[in-house]
């Protein structure tokens, strides 16, 4: 029984913590910031976990720990049934290949002087011994998969729109055939129409490769659409964690409720109510 459960869990995080130290001065003591204060969750293969919270709540720190950019202060990270040793120098290349990240700002995360083909080929160049011709072929295949084409191979990032750049960033993350993809606000810099395309692309890729997503966002309408499970973070703690329907239909924590109350509502009934309120106020 435990064997089955283990094979179905892609990611398990146990009481993970991250402290940052602020150096003190002559008369100022050192200050420790607890960015993430003991978060635990587990995520099944092929599912999407959305992490929601305001800026400074530790959600990006958590993403950095999941992708081994930052080392956790304490706690366990179990990826694909294996406990990872996150100390510098102890990570195996296989483990690094399993987890990839897509950043928020596609304008900042691509090197402006690197051609798209080289952007996509670089992970292969570093991690594998594949020949240049095959790297090129694989990069072209990936461009087609994310809705671009081989004609984009020799172009530079500035020649693309925001949505296309985010597709390139996603393609780069997928080059090493990862199993877990961490998406740090992947659509919040994009227009509504482009956002829909990128979200559809992510759903297509999840179906095709059986990817597991950790999706960081502050937009609850996107989260409601894409997530299977939702975790709400507040000042470094997970204040709410459950399936999407549980969290959205019956939020337990005060902060989650205030988050829902703050989200603008675009349905006709709430507009009608607002217009009526305004009319009543101006008549009075």
């Amino acid at each position: 029984m435990t064997e089955i459960k283990k094979s179905n869990t892609m990611l398990e995080v146990r009481d993970i913590k991250r402290d940052y130290e602020l150096p003190g001065g002559l008369f100022k003591p050192k200050k420790i910031i607890h960015a993430v204060k003991g978060v635990s969750f587990s995520l099944e293969r092929g599912k999407t976990l959305a992490i929601v919270g305001e800026s400074g709540c530790g959600k990006s720190t958590l993403a950095r720990m999941l992708t081994f950019i930052d080392e956790p202060t304490s706690g366990d990270l179990i990826i694909d049934g294996e406990k990872t040793d996150t100390r510098p120098g102890h990570l195996t290349p296989e483990m690094r290949q399993k987890v990839q990240i897509v950043f928020q700002n596609p304008y900042g995360s691509l090197n402006p002087r690197q051609k798209i083909g080289d952007v996509l080929g670089e992970p292969l160049l570093i991690n594998t011994k594949i020949s240049a011709a095959e790297r090129r072929e694989r990069a072209n295949e990936m461009l087609v998969k994310v809705g671009l084409g081989p004609e984009h191979y020799n172009r530079y990032p500035h020649m693309f729109s925001g949505g296309q750049r985010q597709r390139i960033a996603i393609a780069r993350a997928l080059m090493m055939n990862p199993k877990l993809l961490v998406l740090d606000e992947p659509v919040s810099a994009l227009d509504l129409s482009v956002q829909a395309q990128v979200l559809n692309l992510l759903a297509d890729l999840q179906d095709e490769f059986g990817l597991t997503y950790v999706f960081i966002s502050h937009d609850l309408s996107v989260v409601r659409y894409i997530a299977d499970e939702v975790m709400v973070m507040y000042f470094g703690e997970a204040v709410e964690y459950g399936t999407r329907d549980e969290v959205f239909s019956d939020p337990k924590h005060e902060y989650t409720r205030s988050l829902f109350a703050a989200t603008p509502r675009a349905d006709v009934e709430s507009i009608r109510a607002r217009v009526a309120r305004k009319k009543a106020a101006s008549a009075a």
């Binding site: 305001e54 800026s55 925001g162 227009d191 509504l192 129409s193 482009v194 956002q195 829909a196 395309q197 979200l199 559809n200 759903a203 502050h218 937009d219 609850l220 309408s221 996107v222 409601r224 659409y225 894409i226 205030s258 988050l259 109350a261 703050a262 989200t263 603008p264 509502r265 675009a266 349905d267 006709v268 709430s270 507009i271 009608r272 607002r274 217009v275 305004k278 106020a281």
Partner: protein, 284 residues
């Protein structure tokens, strides 16, 4: 008489491949006490149209309009010194990046008192008192102390409150808010929108909200102008726009909202809309 009336505004920029038309024959008007939202994706010319009204475009831009009237007064061919008396006093603007739009070298107190000195000619004591009153009005705690702070000592939401305080310092008749909450968290966004709406209702000023977020439109606007590639696609009051959108582009935008998703994929704009802008008259 409308507070601001624009007829057939066109703005062009010269590029290497000829003149680029950023705004193409847009007409709109705002009355006192009315909230007009201008919606569109990036590059639809929604900001450029308002910058043309403010006279903030570079001299290389070619601005033509049949009429551009503020309170019945021509503001298209107005002299620079005349314009300076108007802008910041009767017409004020708030920009997207609150931290970038404040001067980092001066305290926020200096920056708000500068407006009061130039436009209202208040003496030192009166300026100070008015600044404290304004900070209190926009909900900044400890206003006396705040005046001596620099922008970097404040959070994004607080900086946006300072920007709003500066904008409303001279009781403007028209306030233009260019994506005022895009850089902020949902909970802060809610606070800022509530603040703007209550100030608008109290002072009875005209408010133009430039945004790409349909949620913000639904929460604030009385009337909506939808813009695409420099052309006005649709103009309607907020309820009929959401209930019964006329143009295909608006339909596409609403269908792309994640909360309107039917099935497991989002509708993208291209499914509804082939990209050729239809003039607002023909479809309505």
């Amino acid at each position: 008489m409308a507070l601001l009336q624009i007829d057939n505004l066109t703005v062009e920029f010269e590029t290497a491949s000829g003149w680029f038309r950023a705004v193409d024959g847009v007409s709109m008007s705002v009355n006192s006490g009315e909230v007009l939202a201008i919606v569109g994706e990036s590059g639809s010319g929604k900001s450029v149209a308002m910058l043309a009204v403010m006279g903030l475009l570079p001299w290389t831009a070619k601005i033509t309009a049949d009429r551009m009237l503020f309170e019945g007064r021509d503001i298209q061919n107005i002299g620079a010194s005349e314009r300076r008396k108007l802008i910041g006093k009767d017409i004020a603007m708030i920009f997207q990046e609150p931290i970038a739009s404040l001067n980092p070298c001066f305290t926020v107190g200096f920056q708000i008192e500068e407006v009061l000195r130039i436009h209202l000619g208040l003496d030192k004591k009166a300026r100070r008192e008015r600044a404290i009153e304004l900070f209190r009005q926009v909900g900044l705690p400890n206003p006396e102390e705040r005046l001596n702070h620099f922008p970097h000592q404040m959070s994004g939401g607080q900086c946006q409150r300072v920007m709003i305080a500066i904008a409303i310092a001279c009781d403007p008749k028209l306030l233009i808010a260019d994506e005022p909450t895009t850089a902020l968290d949902v909970t802060i966004q809610k606070q800022i929108l509530d603040l703007l709406m209550s100030l608008q209702a109290k002072n009875g000023m005209g408010l133009i909200m430039i945004t790409h977020d349909m949620g913000v439109v639904a929460e604030t606007a009385d009337r909506v102008v939808v813009q695409y590639k420099g052309k006005k696609m649709e103009e309607a009051d907020v309820l009929s726009l959401f209930e019964n959108p006329k143009s295909n582009y608006t339909k596409a935008l609403l269908a792309a909202l994640p909360e309107n998703a039917t099935g497991d994929r989002l509708t993208t704009v291209s499914q509804y809309f082939d990209g050729t802008p239809e003039p607002a008259g023909t479809s309505a």
